[in-house]
């Protein structure tokens, strides 16, 4: 079973925290990879909060292709950071020649553009880059969004950490929200895009278990929005449903559970909000999931939450201090990075619950 984790803190954290969080849950690793998304960035990225950051791994040729496309679109490079790597033949890792994190300035034509227009430009550009790089597998674009960087690689998570120097704390590379998984979806091909967390327009999701309604979710989502692509992992469906709910339909987050795990019909009939819940159950039946899954997600405003499928066949626990909240598959991970917390306040959510952490580190438990 995959192990997943998310750390949200009032302070900037280095990704070594995420590696530590996942290390004690190592029995869930299988050397298929490590991936993380960092949001609300500090360090060298702190001064560029409003500018989009491109997270990409590519070959020399891929670099050319991407540069040309970005230039064609009118983006200007403001800053580029490439992690210092530590190559060692003993490390279990399948590397790419380049790992880039580029901060870009919007094209001039977008100087007076609305936020929606800018968002659309970013998704269109990312899709264009992805398509161009896909042809000869010259590269992978994981995210292109302000204040977000994504790193994914295939191999042993510990070695990937060593390769990128992630074990050594540094103030230059830090974020207030880090989500990570030390294994990718091994049901399908081991490809970089299949590694969680998945990111789309400010929304991040990672999950474990298997989405048994993958087929019907996928067929339905493919028509809903241009950004719902890939489907290399059945867990991408959780992200796309979240994005559809909140970004496309503009419904509040508490309807997420009602979409993915609608209440049984008889229970809905006893609710005050019966009418609306029935309509959601009917209208979005193809977005229902049937487990077994635990999902952890981040919203564009920094809210982090977790919930499970309705049979709750995958574990998750939330531990916290005043400064930091950690959501992960096994409590051993939390013990590792928050040993001083009051463990009696740990939360083991149930199948009808959504546990939500807001930016003040307040933990709310929403009942479906």
């Amino acid at each position: 079973m995959c192990r997943i984790g998310a750390i949200k803190s009032k302070n900037y954290m280095h990704p070594s925290k995420a590696l530590l969080l996942m290390r004690s849950q190592q029995k869930g690793h299988d050397n298929s990879g490590f991936a993380m998304v960092m949001q609300d960035l500090g360090g060298i990225f702190e001064d560029y909060k409003d500018l989009p950051i491109l997270s990409m791994a590519c070959t020399d040729e891929g670099l050319n292709i991407a540069d040309n496309i970005l230039a064609e679109e009118g983006f200007l490079r403001v800053m580029q950071w490439c992690p210092e790597t530590n190559p060692d033949p003993k490390l279990i890792i399948e590397t790419m020649p380049h790992y880039l994190f580029q901060v870009l300035q919007y094209p001039k034509a977008f100087k007076y553009a609305t936020p929606e227009e800018k968002e659309d430009l970013l998704i269109n550009t990312r899709l264009r880059l992805r398509k161009a790089l896909e042809v000869d597998e010259e590269g992978y674009v994981y995210s292109f969004w302000p204040d977000v960087i994504t790193l994914k690689e295939i191999g042993d998570p510990k070695d990937i950490g060593t390769y990128f120097g992630l074990w050594k704390e540094s103030k230059d590379f830090a974020a207030k929200i880090i989500t990570a998984q030390c294994r990718q979806n091994t049901n399908y091909d081991i490809v970089r895009y299949a590694a969680h967390p998945f990111f789309l327009q400010g929304y991040t999701s990672l999950a474990n278990g298997e989405n048994t309604f993958y087929e019907k979710n996928k067929l339905f989502q493919k028509k809903l929005y241009k950004g719902y692509v890939g489907f290399e992992s059945d867990s991408q469906c959780f992200l796309y449903t979240l994005h559809y709910l909140n970004k496309v339909l503009k419904w509040p987050l508490h309807y997420y559970k009602h979409i993915i795990t609608p209440l049984p019909y008889d229970e809905i009939l006893n609710r005050k909000d019966e009418k609306i819940l029935l309509k959601i159950k009917e209208s979005l039946a193809h977005l229902e999931i049937n487990g077994p899954n635990t999902i952890i997600s981040t919203m564009p405003d920094g809210t982090v939450f977790t919930c499970c499928d309705s049979k709750k066949l995958r574990p998750v626990v939330i531990g916290s201090t005043d400064e930091t909240v950690v959501i992960t598959s096994e409590v051993t991970g939390i013990n590792e990075i928050l040993p001083e917390r009051n463990w009696e306040e740990d939360i083991y959510p149930h199948e009808r619950e959504t546990v939500v952490i807001n930016n003040d580190m307040k933990i709310e438990r929403w009942q479906q």
Binding site: E210, H254, K279, N290
Partner: protein, 543 residues
């Protein structure tokens, strides 16, 4: 001897009679509704010897026997009622592999050959049976326990709107509905399919209605039953049980005079309305209730005299069937104050996808279900040529329709219900489950209900006499003597039991694929051992 005359070797069925075992009790001749056998005499020659040494003597005797009629009216249908009632196993019908009966009837009468039942050609191999539930949840997503877990087995009946079309507004972070929306009912994913009073005996129809009410009120299985075209008893229309009944309107509009007149007295809304455009067993052909089945109570319910009742092959409209159906949709929606879902039933056909595509694009949101009826469904009476040579199997067309909706991004908006040979091998759960995985929201079943009730017919020429009004087991007849052969309570009990078993069996299929709600469109759960079927249905091939 005239070779042109009908001979015993032309008949569909030949009576095998053993006079040594026969006690001449007369039960077989009394029970045969077709007058296919009668008491007769035969001259017998017997050589006997009575003395101490052989002294053969020839004795001629006239003995009573049971004899088969050789006649194009009174012929044996192979129903086997004689065998059932014979206390001595002295008589039984045997299928004649060399028969040429239908051909002879055509050549003697100049009429097309009619019968009841189902398609009798190529009925041995079904695509359904070449599909397996091949995706068994194991390590990463454990199977469920069919006994311990709870399952939600409900399907929508009614027009479902995409989220953008639902008139919503936000109050304190909560969504609220602004308007009334098309009605949607959540019901069991199996509907007892449209068989009319008239086609069925009143007793059979009543047994179905009793079973439906019992399943809803006592067994927790919210099944619905469709009336068929022919109305229903006023007592039922005025009762609270109407909520379990789907009213059907077809091209003959039979029974609707009474339904409309009873509307002020209805205490419940019906479960839905189905507009029947076509049926799977005889697509392109209208209903046919022969005068001999139009008994007094049928005349009253339908508001017609005793005559052959023919539903036209299509709905009559000034310009087009499309327009007349649309008018019908609007008027039926309006008649029940837009509170009752209105669905359409069509024969599976090469054109089904076009029809479904059109309905999905309909801007009025008035179509609450697409009922697709394939070949292998049954019928009370039809021309054999229609039964055997017209129609389209339902499975691939169901899949085509689902994928057409997927292509439009509109899957689920008009629920798909499939029929036509569901449960033909006796297992409705397996057929229903496979259809659901291929994209159906539910299925409907008719002929199987009759078989549970005691119908002796099959798809290999046995009985198929629904058209005669002489059903030997009292199911498809209005004959007051024959209908008494049917025990209403027992039939209702058997149907209830069958659905309780089916409910368990569907769970036994949901559990191994790890799903607690219906796997609509989960084609990844299916594999086929036939590569052409796998290719057509877009499921995995397995060998």
């Amino acid at each position: 001897m005239k070779v042109n005359e009908l001979g015993k070797d032309d008949l569909l069925w030949q009576i095998e009679y053993n006079s040594d075992r026969c006690t001449f009790c007369g039960k077989c001749t009394a029970a045969c509704p077709f007058d296919a056998i009668e008491a007769s005499v035969e001259k017998r020659r017997k050589v006997i010897s009575e003395g101490p040494t052989p002294t053969p003597k020839i004795n001629f005797q006239t003995v009573p026997v049971i004899k088969q009629n050789i006649d194009i009216q009174n012929f044996c249908r192979g129903c086997g009622i004689c065998e059932k009632v014979c206390p001595n196993e002295a008589i039984r019908p045997v299928k004649n592999p060399d028969e040429r009966f239908a051909m002879k009837v055509r050549s003697y009468t100049g009429n097309s050959f009619t019968r009841g039942g189902r398609n009798n050609l190529n009925t041995n191999e079904r695509a359904f049976d070449k599909i397996q539930i091949g995706r068994i949840s194991q390590m990463t997503d454990p199977s469920l326990d069919a006994q311990r877990h709870t399952f939600e087995m409900l399907a929508p009946f009614g027009r479902i709107l995409p989220p953008q079309q639902i008139p919503l507004h936000m109050v304190d972070g909560k969504l609220e509905l602004e308007d009334n929306l098309p009605p949607v009912r959540w019901i069991y994913p199996i509907i007892i399919g449209d068989m009319s009073i008239g086609a069925l005996s009143g007793r059979m129809w009543e047994a179905l209605a009793i079973a439906t009410a019992y399943l809803n009120e006592e067994a927790g299985i919210p099944i619905r039953m469709c009336s068929g075209e022919g109305g229903m008893p006023v007592r039922l229309l005025k009762s609270r049980y109407l909520k379990y009944m789907i009213l059907q309107i077809a091209s003959g509009h039979f029974g609707w005079n009474r339904i409309i007149n009873t509307m002020p007295d209805m205490v419940e809304d019906p479960a839905g309305i189905i507009i029947k455009i076509g049926q799977g067993a005889k697509p392109g052909d209208g209903g046919l209730l022969q005068a001999k089945k139009v008994a007094q109570h049928i005349q009253e319910i339908r508001g017609v005299p005793k005559t052959d009742l023919l539903s036209p092959p299509n709905h009559q409209g000034l310009y087009s069937i499309e327009e007349s159906v649309q008018k019908m949709f609007l008027s039926l929606n309006a008649a029940f104050k837009f509170k009752v879902p209105v669905a359409i039933k069509v024969s599976a056909s090469v054109t089904s996808v076009s029809v479904y595509n059109n309905l999905l694009r309909d801007p009025y949101n008035i179509v609450g279900g697409f009922f697709l009826d394939g070949i292998y469904g049954g019928t009370g009476a039809a021309h054999e040529i229609s039964l055997n040579h017209t129609g389209h199997p339902v499975l691939s067309k169901l899949r085509d329709c689902y994928l057409a909706a997927v292509h439009q991004g509109k899957q689920g908006q008009i629920p798909l219900w499939a029929a036509g040979g569901m449960g033909m091998t006796g297992n409705l759960a397996a057929d229903a489950f496979k259809a659901i995985c291929l994209g159906a929201n539910g299925v409907f079943t008719g002929k199987l209900m009759l078989q549970i009730a005691g119908c002796v017919g099959n798809d290999h020429g046995k009985c198929n006499a629904c058209n005669t009004g002489l059903c030997p087991v009292g199911i498809c007849t209005q004959n007051p003597v024959l209908v008494k052969r049917l025990d209403i309570d027992k039939v209702a009990e058997n149907i209830v039991n069958y659905f309780i078993a089916t409910d368990q069996e569907i769970k036994k299929l949901m559990a191994p694929i790890g799903n607690s709600s219906l796997p609509v469109g989960r084609s990844d759960a299916l594999v086929s051992i036939d590569s052409s079927i796998a290719e057509k249905l877009q499921i995995q091939y397995a060998c």
